[in-house]
Amino acid sequence: MPNKIVTVIKREYMTRVRSKGFIVSLFLMPVLMCALVLLSSFLAYVGDTTEEMRKLAVIDETREIFTQMQAAIAGHPTFQHKGELIYELVEESAATEVPEITFRERVNTKDLYAYLAIPKDVFANGEVRFYARTTTNFDVQRALRRIISDIVRDKRFAESGYSQHEVSQLMRSVKFSAYAIKSSKGKAGGAEVESPIETGARIGLGYILVFVLYMFVIIYANSIMRSVLEEKTTRIVEVIVSSIKPYQLLLGKLVGVCSVCLTMFAIWVLFGVLLIMNISPLLRIFGIESLPVQMLQIIVTVKVSSTEVLIYFFIYFIIGFFMYSTLYAVVGAICGSEEEAQQTGAPLTMLIVVPFILMFQLFRIPDSTLSVLLSHVPFFSPILMFMRINVLMPPLWEILLNILVVCTTVLLVMLISGKIYRVGILMYGKRPTLRQLWQWARY
């Protein structure tokens, strides 16, 4: 007798792996991922892309800062586009007694990009005010602040009798680099440190992995929801559950789809390993003999740290996948149409979107009580605990405990969901109320 769960797994797996979608994602995802990274760094590099001239009015009550500003702006990259200066400073003498309100009007009608009010007492303690239609142009603000600060500071120094040269000598900033101390793990020779590049590479890898985990869990949990819904609306589920138990169908479906994801990851990892191992001959094809030291450092870091991180990635992906997909399967089972399912599923999406958003803040304070507590909330663990592992490795016992707790939760979720699923897939008509769901779960 063939094993029937295997039959279900096989169907889920084969139909998906053979589909065009799988092949496309297999190639497109890494390309998109690279494109995203490149695009964001490109945007950061390019910054402001406007080419039209922007007028910046300066109401200079001191009557001496404006000229120096003009000189400083001419040589400042923030105010240039493709080497051309795109900001024009217009001096507006305070003596003309033009009320500020007219400047505001001119900004509003886009005659002026912005205007700047420099008070007489700026050398003492006065506040420089910047007015524009939006104040999210932080680059411009930062540059202006810097320029005016320098002018004011130079003036203060000059009045105290220091020369320009002396000032720049004295005002040099300190070189500052951050080194992460690696946990020594009982190794001889004490704790080692990590260079900023190594840290960057390691965290970057972790960041990509968290992103992949998040994306795949969401995409494939939704795919499972639609698949359950398809079986329900086409009534094929009646034929299936007249052959196997509903929980077998659900389990087979989850394992099948999870295997699809793992297959894709495995192919990527294999490809990545091959790429890194053969990096020099590959580069030689493109005529590149040697890489910059930093690149080599990044490659070495990825090589060293990826094994451990990947193991945790697979563990937390599988856990997260089963946790969310089971819930989504239930949503599919209790709804009658795709629209209804999307609506019902929306609150569930929060369970994975919330930790993903929190992660951007929490990764700066990985060992704070808040981070630790949140990372142990079972529904958040796949993202937040995995984030902690990437940023600052928690003690092994804590990870193992977390895996144990989360696995238990997943089993509980699957147990309850299985019961609701069993009833739901064969029920048509009105979506059940929470109370009914509770009854089904205890049934």
Partner: protein, 307 residues
């Protein structure tokens, strides 16, 4: 001990009684028809037999065993609303369900080819389900129902949506399967479809059994109270005859329902006396639909939804 037995089965959905005190037994190797208008409780009954929904009261036994689930591999079930995985190929979808029913791959592949040939669908084996016409998909689904040679075949409205040719094909297949030893229970709301097909029938209306007996016995009990007349000219002279309960005149042919089975003699006499040129006069059995309508009316009800 009957092959499949239902005893005093009840099912309520909220306040609505879908099935009320239904009992019947099906013998091995017979064809059983569950007949009734839409909403009579046929699908609910079949779903309870399949253990898809649980009855509120009563028992359903399969060879004396209450756990139908233990025998699922020996049952083939065609649900009322049809559906297959639309994106899968015909072969794969049949193979999937055959494997779920316990067939081995090689065995199943052979059966698939044999059945597709029988259904004249061989050239569709590598096509996707969503490329098939509705009737073809329905035939494919019938294959998935019987491919594992089940002992019990449950078909919910198997004829709905089929053209006359496919309907005949399906009827022949069902008889063939029965003759090979399968027990078949099927439901339909179009009662004419099953005349002479069933060994035994159960007429249900509003969740209750109206008549449950062998088809022959049912027909005999209601006697031959219908007459078919072919004539030349006009039937006008006998339109208000005392012997006629109902008349359906088609111009040269008429179906007459008699007040009592014995009154055919008097009617014939009257036709002759009034000079109607009769070319054929034949006593016929009542149709199941007529029997159904009569039974409902006998219980003081009316038939609203009997096509």
């Amino acid at each position: 001990m009957s092959f499949l037995q239902l005893e005093n089965v009840h099912k309520k959905f909220g306040d609505f009684t879908a099935v009320s005190d239904i009992s019947f037994a099906i013998e091995k190797g017979s064809m059983y028809g569950l007949l009734g208008p839409n909403g009579a409780g046929k699908t609910t009954t079949l779903r309870m037999i399949m253990d898809i929904i649980a009855p509120d009261a009563g028992s359903i036994t399969f060879s004396g065993n209450r756990h139908v689930r233990d025998f699922l591999d020996q049952i083939g079930y065609l649900p009322e609303e049809r559906g297959l995985y639309r994106k899968m190929k015909v072969r794969d979808v049949i193979l999937f369900i055959a494997e779920l029913k316990g067939l081995y791959r090689q065995q199943a592949l052979g059966e698939i080819e044999r059945w597709l040939e029988k259904m004249q669908l061989s050239e569709w084996i590598d096509k996707r389900v969503d490329e098939l016409s509705k009737g073809m998909a329905q035939k494919i689904q019938f294959i998935t129902t019987v491919i594992h040679k089940p002992e019990l075949i449950i078909l919910d409205e198997p004829f709905s949506g089929l053209d006359p040719i496919n309907m005949t094909l399906l009827k022949d297949l069902m008889l063939e399967l029965r003759d090979e030893g399968s027990t078949i229970i099927f439901s339909t709301h179009v009662m004419e479809q099953v005349e002479k097909l069933c060994d035994r029938i159960c007429l249900i209306h509003q969740g209750k059994v109206l008549i449950e007996d062998e088809l022959r016995a049912v027909k005999r009990a209601f006697g031959k109270n219908s007459v078919e007349i072919e004539y030349v000219g006009s039937l006008e002279p006998i339109r208000n005859s005392d012997w006629i309960q109902g008349l359906n005149d088609f111009g040269q042919y008429a179906e007459v329902k008699l007040k009592s089975p014995e009154s055919y003699r008097s009617l014939l006499q009257e036709l002759v006396e009034k000079g109607v040129d009769v070319t054929r006069f034949e006593l016929v059995e009542p149709t199941l639909h007529e029997i159904f309508v009569q039974s409902v009316e006998a219980q003081g009800g009316t038939v609203q939804d009997a096509e």
